[in-house]
Amino acid sequence: MLGLRLAMVDAVGEGIMDKEENRSLEVPEVAISTNGAEELEDRTETVAINIDALSLWYTGVQAIENVSLQIPENQVTALIGPSGCGKSTLLRCINRMNDLIPGVTLDGHIKIHGESIYEKDVDPVAVRRNVGMVFQKPNPFPKSIYENVAFGARINGYKGNMDELVRASLEQAALWDEVSDKLSESGLTLSGGQQQRLCIARAIAVKPEVILMDEPCSALDPIATQRIEDLIRELRSTYTIVIVTHNMQQAARVSDKTAFMLAGEERVGRLVEFSPTQELFTNPSDSRTEDYITGRFG
């Protein structure tokens, strides 16, 4: 158990180091500190997604209650918690994916860059263009690799050079080198890990501000997982990323902030703790968080 904790702390340390390198280019006057927590405090965060007192019911059965979260811009925010605590539900609220499920009712607000997305006159389709999503199981369209990437841009009336967009998106998703000579083959001919990167490229091609990922590595082997994690770390300079994961090491490795959710006896999910990742894993403020990350339940 102790070993696991140490490993996680280690991973967090690495993550912070990465960021320090990035940051030191942008803001040279900030002294590089070996104390990650202090450094995170220093940063002035822009809130990208403001979730305010959100509750959701599936045909009358409450799934999450009163969740409030400020998700920072251009960072990776992880949602962790035991199965059934409402992580996916919360994530799918951010791009109004839950609208597609009949009988869902919702209370509270979500603002993305100040704009409330659950107002009456907001088009959920427009929200989803701005908030991309990567799913648990890789789900490329049964179309060519090229068409998979071009699809979103095409339906959104993209006027620029499609070939370039496809290439840039695949490059950003670290897939270009592997598929550049077979763009016309079906996306389904790729391996699971490649398919998931194709799905990331597909999301990127629409140029969203936010990318949501629901356990994007759970169907992948460790090597493919690592590639996706590397990718997530690269993408956070451009996108605000929210990732649901069951894998605490993964949360520790890739995320800047972590939200821990938990469902009580009545199976209604609530937010327990939301802190910088490193803090949450090394010095949780809630005893239930501590129990969960040390594997005592869940």
Binding site: N95, M97, L100, P102, V125, A126, R128, R129, N130, G132, M133, F135, K137, N139, P140, F141, P142, K143, F151, G152, I155, N156, S186, L188, C199, R202, A203, A205, V206
Partner: protein, 309 residues
């Protein structure tokens, strides 16, 4: 020790028995499949033998290029084109009615209808295919044809292709709607969500992702429906009449290949005569027409379908 042995033996015997049962079931199932195959082969062989003996007497060139089909008259004409044109007219016409209607019904049922509406509507649509075809025929003859004669085309006689087209079209809507609906609903939710996730509207999801992914099933429903339309005899005979007629005018009476075959089989034409053998020649032609259609459509399906699993 001895207890152990008996137990093992008993178990062994039981295995043998159930194995025997399994083999018996296998044999019965094989027999069923075999009967089907033998029947099909038998039909094809008889079609070929009788058809070829027809072509020994009438040249294929006359048969396939002649425009007069009067084998039962004293001045015999063995040109099958009028029957083919009648068949194609009814088949294509019915397809024009049923494919759009059936496809849209399927899309509505699978993508737009609430579960409650669906659970009522789908059986109702399927009931259409349970109505005896002769009822469709009389509906056409006593309702649609007089209506058309009265308001649209007064020159028409009592029989006309168009009213057969309409009823056959309606008759095959359930085939298209029901099978296409199944194919559309089989498209995984993940694919729809992927499309919604990049900002596709419902219409875009349906037309660009769901429909293409279901295409092989949809086309299968089309083939089945058109084959049914081509094979349909009763309603067509009642509504469109029994006059071989080389025309594209849907307001005239026509005769289809199947209608001709029935009229001769049920008539008093003596077996073995050249007049009687015409039905095998016509049947053989019909057989090749449907065969070619099936081959073409399976090519189309292979080329355009999007395999998603």
């Amino acid at each position: 020790m001895s207890f152990e042995t008996t137990r093992v033996t008993a178990r062994y015997r039981q295995n043998l028995r159930s194995n025997l049962g399994g083999r018996l079931i296998g044999a019965v199932l094989f027999l069923c499949a075999f009967v089907t195959v033998v029947t099909t082969v038998g039909i094809v062989v008889i079609l070929f033998i009788e058809g070829l003996s027809f072509f020994a007497e009438v040249s294929p060139i006359e048969f396939f290029t002649g425009t007069k089909w009067t084998p039962l008259f004293t001045s015999k004409g063995f040109g099958v084109l009028p029957l083919i044109s009648g068949t194609v007219l009814i088949g294509l016409g019915a397809a024009c009615v049923a494919l759009p209607l059936g496809t849209l019904t399927a899309i509505y049922l699978s993508e737009y209808a609430t579960p409650r509406i669906r659970s009522v509507m789908k059986p109702l649509v399927e009931v259409l295919s349970g109505i005896p075809t002769v009822v469709y025929g009389y509906f056409a003859l006593t309702f649609i044809s007089p209506f058309i004669k009265e308001y649209l085309y007064p020159e028409a006689g009592p029989y006309m292709a168009i009213s057969a087209i309409v009823v056959v079209g309606i008759m095959i809507v359930p085939i298209v709607a029901s099978i296409s609906d199944d194919a559309l609903r089989a498209v995984p939710r993940e694919l729809r969500e992927a499309a919604y996730g990049v900002g596709a509207s419902k219409l875009e999801v349906n037309t660009r992702v769901v429909f293409p992914a279901a295409l092989s099933g949809v086309i299968a429903s089309y083939i089945l429906a058109i084959s049914r339309a081509i094979g349909e005899t009763m309603a067509v005979t009642v509504a469109a009449g029994a006059r071989p007629n080389l025309t594209a005018n849907p307001f005239e009476a026509v005769q289809t290949m199947t209608a001709y075959i029935v009229s001769v089989s049920l008539g008093d034409t003596p077996h073995g005569t050249i007049e009687f053998k015409t039905i095998f020649a016509v049947g053989l032609t019909l057989f090749f027409m449907t065969l070619v259609m099936n081959i073409i459509s399976s090519r189309i399906t292979k080329r355009f379908r999007e395999v998603y699993d």
